[in-house]
């Protein structure tokens, strides 16, 4: 019997150690998570979720920029030529293929985040090789539908959730 004892005891002790470590790890995790999560967007930031914009004064061929959740949103009233141009692009020519019809519900109005999908700069209006936007930071060119055509950005400029409250007012968010 005394020879068997040293074999059994360490096993029980090992189990206790492992169980203690496991409970300890859960405890540490429970303490660390609030410290990590406090950095996420807080309730007051999340509360600023939607903005209404009066677009009655925007003339065709013009873009206005408004601030939504700390980010610029471009609202462009497109001319017939621009709509034609945006809709005639072949899908094969696009890095991130999206139909203009899917990006602009009402073809006259293009609403999108004015944030370059590369590293977050604000692209410039009516610039670049594709008659749309050009990002001065790292040289991304966007077309008149806000789709990436040339440069390091991987995606088209994002279209946020929006709706026409009435003929003159767009609600973003």
């Amino acid at each position: 019997m005394p020879e068997k004892m040293p074999e059994k005891k360490p096993k029980r002790r090992e189990f206790l150690f492992t169980a203690t470590y496991a409970v300890g790890a859960v405890g540490v995790g429970a303490v660390v998570w609030p410290l990590v999560d406090q950095m996420n967007p807080d309730a007051s930031v999340k509360a600023l979720a939607s903005t209404e914009v009066d677009v009655s004064s925007v003339k065709p061929g013009n873009t206005i920029t408004i601030l939504w959740r700390g980010k610029p949103v471009f609202i462009r009233r497109r001319t017939q030529d621009e709509i034609m141009e945006a809709r005639s692009v072949k899908m094969e020519d696009l890095k991130h293929p999206e139909k203009d019809e899917d990006r602009a519900k009402d073809p006259e109005w293009l609403v999108m985040l004015g944030v370059c999908t590369h590293l977050g700069c604000v692209p410039l209006n009516d610039k670049g090789d594709y008659d749309g936007w050009f990002c001065p930071c790292h040289g991304s060119h966007y077309d008149i539908s806000g789709r990436i055509r040339k440069g390091p950005a991987p995606l088209n400029m994002e279209v946020p959730k929006y709706e026409f409250v009435n003929a003159n007012t767009i609600k973003i968010g």
Partner: protein, 420 residues
């Protein structure tokens, strides 16, 4: 740690030292044997310590006046510049001090590269150094955000967006870093907190860096192991202390020139415009000390791969002790490595230059070639060179070429010319 047993002369000193051996530590530091052939490139360790302390002291005093709030930060910095007694001086020392810190650290790193100071048995010193360098970049970046000017804001936007390149979780991580959906007040307050914290982390790592240095002792210009203490060494005090002090004096002249005569030359005029989330400045550039890495980022046309390349360019340095397969430390005895070393220096300078230029046309081409060469240097040239290179025979000790043993070519020639 101590090379000899130290006994304090006074009775109180002995009593105290038995309980907390601070006097032994001081004795170790003053008597610490250093190779007697250390040149001025070795004075930058001391200069860097000075830079760190300068940044901490000026930073603490600035923090007494600065307000970390998106609506007030910009004005509070102007308040420091105009109203606070000597505020302009303290801020200019702090802002230019960051540049001086990086100037010194780059010289320190390239010293190490030339003389092979990162090689066995000093790998841990080197790796701690790389961590310090990374923390310095983080601290400098966050510090640059605090004045809340246009470059602050858009620099912060671009750099934090680097994380959005991570697949799947990228977006979530960026929102977590921002504490919102764009760089805003929550971002500013946390950057201020971290900017305050990091220098003290660096200070702790500097202690480890020096501790690890004191185990094998300093490398030296001929890169051989030195018996210590011996004819090849001198005590740290007064020999190295006075040499470091003189070098520091020269360095502070350069420092003072920037602070007093061109305090804004290393900054960017756009940062005197308050942050505006609707307008990106026409030409975003980071501070000069980050330009080579910025050039690497922009030279890769893919977003994720660009970020990976940039981070690899820094992290590859940590693997350097194992990538360099040569047993000979100093470039003095490595004729081929010496040439590749200077090509690397030129390569990094070129990367820095194109990093400041628009990423298009010829600049982009140059950036791509220089980026490729940077990685080729570390991943191919260094490992192969260790096996292929024919090195020059290394002397057995520092004094040997002077006092006999192996003939020194220079002295032999001199003696012959004297005979004639």
């Amino acid at each position: 740690m101590s090379d000899h047993e130290y006994v304090p002369s006074s009775k109180f000193g002995k009593w105290f030292n038995d309980r907390l051996p601070l006097l032994s530590l001081a004795s170790h530091l003053t008597d610490y044997p250093t190779p007697k052939n250390l040149n001025y490139w070795w004075t930058f360790g001391g200069i860097l310590t000075f830079c760190l302390i300068t940044q901490i002291v000026t930073g603490l005093t600035l923090a007494m006046h600065y307000i970390a709030h998106a609506d007030m930060a910009f004005e509070s910095v102007e308040h420091i510049m105009r109203d606070v007694n000597y505020g302009w001086l303290i801020r200019y020392i702090h802002a230019n001090g960051a540049s001086m810190f990086f100037l010194a650290v780059y010289i320190h790193i390239f010293r190490s590269l030339f003389y092979g100071s990162y090689k066995s048995p000093r790998e841990i010193i080197w790796i701690i150094g790389i961590i310090i360098y990374l923390l310095m970049m983080a601290a400098a970046f966050m510090g640059y955000v605090l004045p809340w000017g246009q470059m602050s804001f858009w620099g912060a936007t671009v750099i934090t967006n680097l994380f959005s390149a991570i697949p799947l979780v990228g977006e979530g991580i960026v929102n977590w870093l921002w504490g919102g959906y764009s760089v805003d007040n929550p971002t500013l307050t946390r950057f201020f907190t971290l900017h305050y914290l990091i220098p003290f982390l660096i200070l702790g790592l500097v202690v480890l860096h020096i501790w690890a240095l004191h185990i094998p002792g300093n490398n030296n210009p001929i890169g051989i192991d030195v018996k210590k203490p011996s004819k090849d060494t001198v005590p740290f005090h007064p020999y190295i202390v006075i040499k470091d002090a003189f070098a520091l004096l020269m360095f502070t002249i350069v420092f003072a020139f920037f602070v007093f005569y061109s305090p804004n030359i290393l900054g960017h005029a756009d940062n005197y415009i308050e942050a505006n989330p609707l307008v990106t400045p026409a030409h975003i550039v980071p501070e000069w000390y980050l330009l080579p890495f910025y050039a690497i980022l922009r030279s890769v046309p893919d977003k994720l791969l660009g970020v990976v390349a940039m981070l690899s360019a820094i992290l590859i340095l940590a693997a350097l002790p194992w990538l360099d397969t040569s047993k000979i430390r100093s470039a003095v005895f490595r004729p081929l490595y010496k040439q590749f070393y200077w090509i690397l220096v030129a390569d990094v300078l070129i990367l820095g230059y194109v990093g400041a230029m628009p990423a298009e046309g010829l600049y982009l081409l140059i950036a791509r070639v220089a980026t490729a060469y940077y990685f080729v240097h570390f991943l191919f040239i260094l490992p192969i060179l260790g096996f292929k290179e024919k090195t020059i025979p290394v002397p057995l000790s520092i004094t040997e070429p002077v006092l006999g043993g192996m003939p020194n070519l220079a002295t032999v020639k001199q003696k012959e010319s004297l005979k004639k």
